[in-house]
């Protein structure tokens, strides 16, 4: 474990006293930009509010042909797919064929809040899911995002927005849910970068100052256009700061598709938000359940996670203390300089006197912001900006994983990722890979075009990001992501292929998110046995497995890798945020049978869904609802030529020590494992022999885990859902699914 330092070892930042209403303004020329718009299409609709969580219609828009239409939400869609990620997968399935590529016009971006999305009484109830065929993985991706767009879409009259086609000129799509008007406008003049664009468009489309809170903008940025790792920003207007704030649909390159379709922005103007707009069957139960959680947050958050002060950044120093903080491309789990980017730094650097919820009524309010950041590099050098975050993933990915421990540079990296429209998690992991390649001579200054990609060199790290935004230099290569960089470096003969494959932290083409899975077999599965690729939002099992030792057998791990991915899928079907589930716990949670599941909160969710729809549901129903979509998505992957065991392979860096230094850094652990688990005497072995024996043991163990997980999930040993499993889930009503599983031995 690390020589972990604490707050008292570190000279305190001055408490953030910056004026959080002051920042660089970008409104010059707004009128001229507006005048340059050319309306290509106007379409009217009848605004409506949801009933029992559904509006029962969705909006289809083709930005190439300018076709706009409504589609009815069928009872079958609701029964089989619920909403959110389920609706997204269903629409994408119908839109594309097994031959579709990410940049074909038929690829879609589907934005879809779920049936509870837009509740204002219960914290964390404003999420949307974004689904598309990913440029990075070439399979469906789903990304969960806050901000106001999804709920305002629903309150304008639509359960989902489905965007297909490709435009020739930059477009803005404006949906006015107050007037029942949709306009597609050519928009040549506005800049692409989100912190400017969302600010301008919020003012351009709001009818007066008070109306700004009813506007939400979806945008990307310059780097999304030149890379495969583009993301989408979803805005909301922060009244107290007087500026827009941003939340990200980060993973899998959806922003890249957005720009490939030449969409500059989607703008919604929704109706004024009130507390009962979903028209639930039982508003009182929702209100009562919400009050209970608000009270719990008020009393327990100060002695638990401090989410209201620090957001997810609260776990930075904790991950370090448990040797789980990815450091230097996931080589190590801790670093002596972590105190410089620990939560108590952000506690003081972020403004604390504001309400930081990314949807109304979220008293967890974890969307922190650092104000008064004066940028040191790039096109906005010298500008004074507000940075959303840093969240844990940003601090770990852009920070420790790349050896950057300067908080001001970390904020700048975070800022540019956001405004350029690239995923912070993905960028962090790919930059860490570049830096390790540089360390090991796979890259050098000549190959990077002059960038010195040494650990912690934040200036060259930023220079690479600026190149990505310009679509030039080595930054453009880095923007291809780890999978394609690996192939390129190997093809160029720049280093040992085995080493490059071992240290490139991607699975299915998606970069790993920011936790060290090396010493937790269950988490190795939690990452690589996912549908979309290694994002931690399916199963975060490191504590249960590695620290609590609650999952000693393969079957125990398989059970966790059955339950948690289904549980987490469920959040994405309905539009919940995961954080209020387990970043605070009731005072008597310890006395429950399964405290790690936070049973009272699970019951809250079930109660709210029952109160919303009028249909009582149980935890078994919940698992079944999720399992349908989860298995559907797996079969979707198979339909796209992936989704088999071969694609669940994990890079060895995620499983064990690749290098001698890594082995030696945890020598006691590895030698104990050799003695106790492998049954050999390490004292008689050379370092190379010990590393080879460790590697063999760990890879065998992973394969055994895969067998156990597939069996528990009702899949063949090649990872194909069996016909029996799809019948049991009622998915056999779709003949194409049956054909696909049959053809693959399921």
């Amino acid at each position: 474990m690390s020589s972990h330092t604490t707050e008292t070892d570190y000279p305190k930042f001055q408490r953030c006293e910056v004026d959080f209403t002051q920042r660089t303004e970008y409104l010059d020329g707004l009128e001229a930009m507006k005048a340059a718009h050319k309306v290509l299409k106007e379409w009217t609709f009848k605004p409506s509010l949801p009933q029992q969580g559904y509006t029962n219609r969705t909006l289809y828009l083709n930005v190439g042909t300018l076709e706009v239409k409504e589609k009815a939400v069928t009872q079958q869609m609701k029964d089989m797919f619920i909403g959110g990620r389920g609706f997204g997968m269903w629409y994408l399935w119908n839109a594309i064929t097994p031959k579709t590529k990410w940049n074909d016009p038929e690829n879609e971006i589907i934005i879809t809040p779920g049936p509870i999305s837009g509740i204002t009484q219960y914290p964390g109830s404003g999420k949307s899911l974004v689904v598309a065929l990913s440029p990075e993985t070439e399979i469906p991706i789903d990304s969960n995002v806050g901000g106001y767009f999804g709920p305002l879409l629903k309150f304008s009259g639509y359960d989902s927005l489905e965007i297909q086609g490709k435009a020739e000129q930059d477009l803005i799509v404006f949906i006015d849910g107050q007037k029942g008007l949709l306009r597609i406008e050519e928009a040549p003049a506005e800049p692409l970068d989100s912190h400017v664009l969302a600010e301008i468009l919020t003012r351009m489309y709001a009818e007066n100052d008070a109306d700004r809170v009813n506007i939400s903008v979806v945008s990307s940025g310059a780097a999304a256009e030149h890379s495969l790792i583009g993301m989408l920003n979803f805005s909301w207007f922060d009244k107290r700061r007087g500026c827009i704030r941003l939340k990200q649909a980060g993973r899998g390159g959806i922003g890249t598709i957005f720009r490939n379709k030449k969409i500059k922005a989607l703008v919604i103007r929704g109706p004024e938000v009130k507390g009962d707009m979903n028209h639930p069957v039982d508003q009182e139960t929702i209100a009562k359940t919400g009050i209970k959680l608000h009270q719990e947050l008020r009393s327990n958050d100060p002695v638990q996670c401090l989410m209201r002060r620090n957001g997810t950044a609260h776990i930075i120093e904790i991950m370090d203390a448990y040797d789980l903080l990815p450091t230097h491309n996931f080589q190590y789990g801790s670093h002596p300089e972590v105190h410089k980017i620990a939560s108590y730094v952000w506690d003081q650097r972020c403004t604390q006197r504001t309400t930081d919820g990314c949807w109304y009524g979220c008293s967890m309010a974890c969307a922190k912001g650092a104000d008064g950041v004066v940028l040191q590099t790039g096109p906005y050098k010298g500008h004074r900006v507000t940075v959303d975050g840093p969240e844990y993933e940003n601090a770990a990915g852009l920070g420790s994983n790349c050896g950057v421990f300067d908080p001001e540079f970390l904020l700048e990296l975070n800022f540019y990722c956001d405004t350029y429209g690239i995923c912070t998690i993905t960028y962090g992991t790919l930059c860490a890979f570049v830096m390790e390649c540089y360390q090991r001579g796979i890259l050098n200054k000549e190959r990077t075009g002059g960038l010195e990609m040494t650990w912690g060199n934040a200036l060259d790290d930023l220079a690479m990001m600026h190149q990505m935004a310009q679509g030039e230099g080595f930054g453009k290569i880095a923007g291809l992501g780890v999978k394609r960089m690996k192939a390129l470096f190997i093809a160029n003969g720049w280093g040992d292929a085995a080493l490059i494959n071992d240290i490139g932290m991607e699975n299915k083409g998606l970069e790993y998110s920011q936790y060290m899975s090396k010493e937790s077999l269950a988490q190795q599965g939690g990452y690589a046995l996912t549908n979309k690729g290694p994002q931690h939002d399916e199963a975060w099992l490191i504590f249960m497995d590695m620290v609590n030792k609650q999952l000693p057998t393969f079957e125990d791990k398989a059970e966790a890798l059955y339950y948690f991915p289904l549980w987490r899928t469920w959040f994405g079907l309905y539009g919940w945020c995961k954080l209020p589930w387990n970043d605070v716990a009731p005072s008597d949670n310890a006395k429950t049978a399964e405290p790690t599941k936070i049973p009272e909160h699970v019951q809250n969710y079930l109660d709210i869904v029952s109160a919303m729809t009028g249909k009582k549901i149980t935890s078994e129903d919940m698992l079944r609802q999720s399992a349908r979509v989860y298995n559907f998505q797996r079969i979707f992957n198979i339909r796209m030529g992936k989704g088999l065991r071969l694609h669940d392979h994990a890079p060895y860096r995620s499983q064990g020590p690749v290098t001698k230094e890594e082995y030696e850094s945890r020598i006691e652990r590895y030698e104990k494992e050799l003695r106790d688990q492998v049954g050999v005497d390490p004292t008689t072995m050379s370092l190379e022999e010990k590393m080879a024996a460790t590697r063999k043991y760990r890879i065998d163990r992973y394969e055994k885990l895969v067998d156990a997980v597939y069996t528990r999930r009702g899949w063949t040993l090649d990872g194909v859902p069996t016909q029996a499993r799809i019948q049991e889930l009622g998915l056999d009503i779709f003949p194409e699914l049956v054909e696909i599983v049959k053809a693959h031995g399921g």
Partner: protein
């Protein structure tokens, strides 16, 4: 034998050892814990005072958070 088990791993026991001492020795800094000593739940308010008997089985269950 002056040993206790913490999540199944042995740890040297000392007279007067409290729950807080175990957390410090194991560097368990995470705030959301469910702790039992010989299957008895220890409330967070008693971490500084609850004594651990020799030979005890201590379970320190970390809730998930993160992720």
């Amino acid at each position: 034998m002056n040993t206790i088990l913490v999540n199944g791993d042995p740890l040297e026991w000392k007279d007067g050892m409290t729950v807080r001492d175990v957390l410090t020795l194991k560097r368990f800094t995470f705030p959301m814990l469910v702790i039992t000593v010989n299957d008895n739940i220890i409330d967070r308010k008693r971490y500084d005072t609850a004594l651990i008997p020799n030979d005890a089985s201590v379970k320190v269950v970390h809730l998930m958070s993160g992720g």
